[in-house]
């Protein structure tokens, strides 16, 4: 079953790196949606069926942490699997995000790291689809 993915990052180059990595990791991707901040991401989530979101933290307008809080508040999308891909180095903040059910990938990442974590999460996402 292919997964619809939302990639949220204010850098277009970073979004394309993440998408390329997902393809290389052999993730069965359906549609790919992109957003450059949290607010755009919520619009995409309202308008489309999305199975997995990869989200940066530091973004203008609405940051990734605010986005995750908002997603968890909305019953229709509260269970969305989320992977945070960020330079964030604060253990305090990383733990806060993990408590909200997000996985964490540290930038700079290697494609292999993203591949492994996405594989784990997409197994869960696939299970949820059944």
């Amino acid at each position: 079953m292919s997964l619809n993915v939302l990639v949220v990052d204010d850098s277009a180059v970073m979004r394309s790196m993440i998408i390329r990595t997902l393809e290389m990791a052999g993730v069965d991707i359906g549609q790919v949606f992109q957003a450059s901040n949290g607010e755009e991401a919520l619009q995409q989530l309202d308008a489309n069926w999305i199975d997995l979101a990869l989200v940066d933290i530091n973004m203008p307008v609405m940051n990734g942490e605010q986005l995750i809080e908002e997603v968890r508040r909305r019953s229709a999308i509260a269970d969305l699997p989320i992977i945070v891909v960020s330079t964030e180095g604060s253990q305090t903040r990383i733990e806060r995000l993990q408590q909200k059910g997000a996985k964490f990938i540290h930038k700079p990442f290697t494609p292999e790291t993203i591949g492994q974590i996405v594989e784990g999460v997409t197994e869960v996402a696939n299970d949820n689809q059944v």
Binding site: D10, S11, A12, V13, M14, S16, M17, R20, N58, M59, P60, N63, S86, T87, E88, G89, S90, Q91, T92, R93, K107, P108, F109, T110
Partner: protein, 149 residues
């Protein structure tokens, strides 16, 4: 005496350029001796939190193109917009990685979106607590970290 973070900044910048940008330092020539960068492209990332300040990254003008091509994995040279985007993202990654090294893993910072600055723009305020120079296969890089009092 203020603590200097030159070596930490050097390590963090080299690691970021290598892992994310697929660039590596050339021979151990000290690029600090090579004089000021000609026509540099400059990005600045401001941050606030337990300490506020800015990270400034200056590179030789050809470097953003190499960086963008490497990061996207493209065969052709990346368009100008992508070049600056890639360079700003690199500045963001260096900034995000240096902060916990100087302020500890508990500190929570807000890292603001990186901006491309004019060459002749006045530098960020505050005190320069770290400077590092890298000579990469894609060109020279100078990184400086400023902390507000």
């Amino acid at each position: 005496m203020t603590t200097r973070y030159d070596q930490v900044l050097q390590d963090v910048a080299a690691e970021a350029f290598s892992t994310l940008g697929f660039m590596f330092p050339m021979d151990e020539g000290d690029s600090a001796d090579a004089g000021p960068l000609a026509d540099p492209v400059v990005a600045e990332v401001c941050f606030s939190g337990p300490q506020s300040g800015a990270l400034k990254v200056a590179v030789e003008p050809q470097l953003p193109a190499v960086l963008a091509t490497n990061m996207t994995g493209a065969d052709d040279q990346a368009p100008a917009e992508q070049q600056l985007d890639a360079f700003k993202e690199m500045a963001n990654v260096i900034c995000g990685n240096i902060l916990p090294r100087i302020a500890g893993q508990e500190a929570v910072f807000d890292v603001h979106p990186p901006e491309i600055c004019r060459q002749d723009a006045p530098g960020p305020g505050g005190q320069c607590v770290a400077q590092a120079g890298l000579l990469l296969d894609g060109g020279r890089v100078e990184v400086s970290l400023f902390l507000n009092a």
